[in-house]
Amino acid sequence: MVEIQKEWLLSARKGDPDAFGRIVEAFQKPVYNLCFRMLGNSEDAEDAAQETFWRAFQGLSRYDPKRSFGTWLLSIAAHYCIDRLRKKRLNLLSLESLLPEDDAPDPAPGPENQTDQKQGQAAVQELLANLGKEERAMIVMRYWYDMSYEEIGRALSCSISAVKSRLHRARQTLAQRWTTVHGPAPAWAGERHE
């Protein structure tokens, strides 16, 4: 993930939103993606990502420079999304709302790949929607950001053993649900390439 420059942090700490804008620019993609994976639609993801950066801006004095800034931001985003899901009880995501019409996915796919991509993304979101809020956050942190168990634990305020056992359960759920989303697994999936 991107890392932060010390000068950005110093000027942003003085409360200048323009200075913090550089941080927003640099981290918008990972933060937005986490919110999208958690909430399942672009409108909520935009809202949540904006709010995440606002909270980070307001709480910049609480950031410990010894830790990764990106992980700190993702932690704020995850907590906010979990809270939002709890409030909305938005556990089942509708297929239509999964993909934004006006959002440009990155990298921009050719028109012939767009339908495939949309279906693939929708399937991923449908898969994630089978998980509980915290487990979803753990899976996203693990498979999109390659965060260690320790980093995930710190970000979500739980122990490493809790992260391990919940990720294990989440993987079981994802494997179980794979067939309902995709039909039987393709033959290649059986060959283990570690």
Binding site: G15, P17, D18, F20, G21, V24, E25, Q28, K29, P30, Y32, N33, F36, R37, S42, A45, E46, A49, Q50, F53, W54, F57, P100, D102, D103, A104, P105, D106, G120, Q121, A123, V124, L127, I139, R142, Y143, W144, L167, H168, R171, Q172, L174, A175, Q176, R177, W178, T179, H182, A185, P186, A189, G190, R192, E194
Partner: protein
């Protein structure tokens, strides 16, 4: 112990397995259809997560954030609003108290409800004034030197100011949250 253990755990293991374990797992997967199915599905699901890539926000995300942040920074915080409300509230109370002292001291009577309700305040205030004479004197002098009509105007003015302040604060807060 289940005959699928420790293979089930190994299937979902994130780290690469030691060579011996991997060989054992592969042998088990050949023989056990149940574990083979779980393994295939997990491999496929994991692959789809890995290939999903990053979703990006609509262009102009940073500009939208800056606009929102600037708007929110201009919005008065709850502390400012409370100070404002407390100041107008206190102003109204002082006015009412001054009027009450004047009313009770000179037997001045405003019509109806206002006069009756101020009597109670006046009673309390007289007791309080007796106890702290110096302050009471100042209070009486000030209260007598102001014509009664001014009190009404001042109370009216403070009330309007309070209501306007409250409306402004509510509107600003809503704007800021958008």
């Amino acid at each position: 112990m289940s005959r699928h253990l420790p293979f089930e755990d190994w299937i979902f293991a994130d780290e690469a397995l030691p060579e011996n374990d991997l060989r054992e797992l592969q042998r088990h997967l050949r023989d056990c259809a149940e574990c083979r199915s779980i393994d295939q599905r997990w491999q496929a699901a994991r692959q789809s997560l890995r290939e999903a890539g990053m979703q990006t926000p609509a262009p102009g995300f940073t500009t939208r954030w800056k606009a929102m942040a600037t708007r929110r920074l201009k919005t008065p915080g709850p502390a400012q609003a409370w100070i404002f409300l407390a100041a107008t509230g206190l102003g109204s109370l002082v006015m009412a108290a001054l009027l009450a002292v004047q009313t009770s001291a000179e037997g001045f009577s405003l019509t109806g409800v206002f006069s009756r309700s101020s009597t109670a305040v006046a009673g309390t205030l007289r007791d309080w004034a007796n106890a702290s004479n110096a302050l009471g004197m100042v209070f009486r002098i000030v209260s007598r030197s102001i014509p009664p009509a001014w009190y009404l105007i001042a109370v009216f003015f403070l009330s309007v100011l309070g209501i306007l302040g409250l409306l402004w604060f509510v509107r600003k807060t809503r704007e800021g949250k958008k």
